[in-house]
């Protein structure tokens, strides 16, 4: 327990250090750090609508990061969340555009299932190659991510393009309000319920079931796990499928929730940010939830900041990068190398 606490302390210090570095850069560039800080606090917490905006941005981060967590705990570097998220959102859109007369609940249910299935497939391919042939999953999940981005680009610029839309960025048409689970705020009882139940299920799965124990054992020492009679391949593959399904779910929630339509290259860094969130959350479900809320708050703050200060949104990208650069300094994600 104390090990866990000191690990958390180190992580907090490293994240604080990253903030310090970025604040220094902002100061040198002539921004008022106190102004940015108080503005961020307003944008994330105190301003009207800020808390719900924080939650809105935390949700996709949280869902994808849960998947990353399962993968890392099983010893796999599944960093393809971005692509899984995109194909999930595309599938959800395809269902709601394909069945325009369907009853709302059914369409949303079917679309969400389709999203989770397609995200799972996107993750299954690298997962299968990894456990069956030892193909490096860092590369394959990254490649699948790029392919997923191009799928989204193709669909929003081609078959699913809104014919009435003008503008330079390709976007699909909006889905009808009947097929949405939130307003544009992105927060509603339904969404909170979906996310809460998912989080509870994943927590139980990881902490209270045999499967969770097997995941941790396989991630810590695959050879030993195999000797103890654990089918490491099956556990590994399940971790990939679950991660993909969670990222796909995030895509469906994004579409049926705040987004309502898909735009080429939307949320372009959410997959990578989710990896950062998972690591900052020390690969535990409550930790990841806290980290997701924190980074969701930052996202909300950055969108709010132009009102009080002219800080460019790229400052957040810089911050995420700095956190990623530093966060694993001690907290090394387990990377299983002796293949399954």
């Amino acid at each position: 327990m104390t090990g866990r606490l000191s690990q958390a302390a180190v992580t907090v210090i490293l994240v604080a250090a990253a903030f310090g570095v970025v604040a220094l850069i902002m100061g040198i560039s002539g921004y008022s750090v106190t102004e940015v800080f108080s503005g961020s606090l307003q944008g994330a917490v105190t301003a009207k609508g800020a808390p719900s905006s924080t939650v809105r941005w935390a949700i996709p981060l949280f869902l994808i990061a849960l998947g990353v967590t399962i993968g890392f705990r099983a010893g796999f570097f599944n960093i393809g969340g971005q692509g899984q998220f995109y194909v999930g959102a595309c599938s959800a859109l395809a269902v709601s555009l394909g069945w325009r007369t369907g009853p709302g609940v059914l369409v949303i249910l079917l679309g969400t299932l389709a999203a989770m299935a397609s995200g799972a497939v996107w993750s299954f391919i690298p997962g299968y190659l990894r456990v069956r042939f030892g193909t490096d999953e860092v590369l394959t999940t990254l490649m699948m991510s790029f392919i997923g981005m191009l799928v989204l680009q193709y669909l929003t610029a081609g078959p699913m393009r809104n014919p009435a839309g003008s503008g330079q960025t390709a976007a699909s048409e909006r889905i009808p309000d009947a097929y949405r689970i939130t307003g544009s705020s992105g927060v509603s009882l339904t969404v909170l319920l979906i996310v809460g139940v998912t989080a509870a299920l994943i927590w139980i799965l990881l902490e209270r079931t045999r499967f969770g124990l097997r995941v941790d054992l396989a991630g810590r020492n695959a050879t030993m796990a195999r000797w103890q009679g654990i089918n490491v391949r099956r556990v590994g593959l399940a971790s990939f499928v679950l991660a993909g399904a969670l990222a796909g779910l995030a895509g469906a929630v994004e579409l049926y929730g705040p987004a309502a339509r898909l735009v080429t290259g939307f949320s372009p860094t959410v997959g990578f940010n989710a990896v950062v969130v998972a690591l900052v959350g020390l690969l535990s479900v409550p930790g990841v939830a806290a980290a997701a809320l924190f980074f969701g708050g930052l996202q909300s703050a950055v969108l709010f900041l132009p009102i009080v200060s002219d800080l460019p949104p790229s400052a957040l990208v810089l911050l995420h990068g700095t956190v990623a650069l530093l966060v694993t300094i001690r907290v090394r994600a387990k990377r299983r190398v002796a293949a399954a």
Binding site: F133, T135, F146, L150, V276, S314, G321, A324, A333
Partner: protein, 304 residues
């Protein structure tokens, strides 16, 4: 047809240069996912410094220096501080993309792009007839890229340094046992990689366009990384893979103009990624063996 050839060469040169950077890192046992970030930094610094000083040589030197400094930072984090290479590399990429966009806003007060009058020399500029015309737009860096590829090949395959580097990447424990310090070798490899990324980025900004746009590398650093794998982490193989991806990019640009109805551009752009998955799959066993060597070394180093 000639147009495709010229576009291919122009697209391929930065890819080949950054792919060489990836090869140096890969040889030292580093999966360098920060190439994209270094590349965009090189692109930005060369435009910014070139615009401020008016000298393209100073611009290239400054870009190289900044990218090498960032490489030292990367090395500090992954070697002495033992952070995870993949996460730190992706972090470096975000720092590059976010940092350049931030600097664009903070220094130039713009969110879009900056232009400069500075450009790399174009050796065949004067030629106005025959075959030479299509090459007149190519910058000096494109012309000397084959030379750089050759030098990289000599360094990696025919020099003492290169062979030591290979030893560090393939079996660090053995390297250490004959008195090579793997960590220092990795620093040297990363420094070379940083300089090559700076050149690749500079070609993109002051070579081809004389301007810098936010996010202008558009994933080329990752494509270059793919070229490393695709070219079996051999300098010439990676450069040829870069040439091939440059060709794919050129065809993609052409098909966008000409035959966009029959073949969607996105499908052309997917080809490198799909091919890479196949390449990694089929070449997977070799990679795994070297990773196991790495694991064995890691266990010797930290018996926890």
């Amino acid at each position: 047809m000639e147009q495709i050839l010229a576009t291919t060469l122009r697209s391929a040169a930065p890819l080949a240069l950054v792919a060489l950077a990836g090869v140096f890192a890969f040889r030292a046992g580093i999966f360098h996912l920060g190439l994209e970030g270094l590349m965009i930094t090189g692109a930005f610094v060369s435009v910014a410094v070139g615009d401020a000083t008016g000298s393209v040589a100073v611009a290239i030197l400054a870009a190289t220096a900044v990218c090498m400094a960032l490489s030292v930072l990367f090395w500090l984090v992954i070697e002495p501080l033992r952070a995870n290479v993949i996460i730190a590399g992706l972090g470096l990429t975000s720092i590059g993309l976010g940092g350049t966009a931030f600097a664009l806003a903070a220094v130039y007060d713009t969110r879009g792009s900056i232009r400069t009058d500075i450009a790399l020399p174009r050796p065949v500029r004067g030629v106005n007839e025959g075959f030479g015309v299509i090459f007149s737009e190519l910058s000096l860096l494109v012309w000397i890229t084959p030379l750089i590829v050759f030098l990289a090949w000599v360094t990696l395959r025919r020099s003492r340094f290169g062979l030591r580097l290979a030893a560090v990447g393939e079996y660090p424990f053995a390297a250490r046992s004959v008195g090579i310090n793997p960590s220092v070798m990795r620093l040297k490899a990363l420094l070379i990689a940083g300089a090559l990324c700076a050149l690749g980025g500079a070609e993109l900004s002051v070579g081809a366009l004389s301007s810098f746009t936010e996010n202008m590398t558009a994933g080329r650093g990752f494509i270059a990384f793919v070229a490393v794998i695709f070219g079996a982490w051999h300098p010439i193989g990676a450069a040829l893979a870069g040439l091939f991806f440059g060709f794919a990019e050129a065809v993609g640009i052409q098909s966008q103009i000409n035959i966009s109805e029959s073949v969607p551009r996105e499908f052309v752009l997917m080809i490198p990624y799909v091919l890479t998955i196949f390449a990694v799959w089929l070449g997977g066993l070799r990679r795994r063996r070297s990773l196991e060597a790495e694991a064995g070394y890691a266990e010797l180093r930290e018996p926890d």
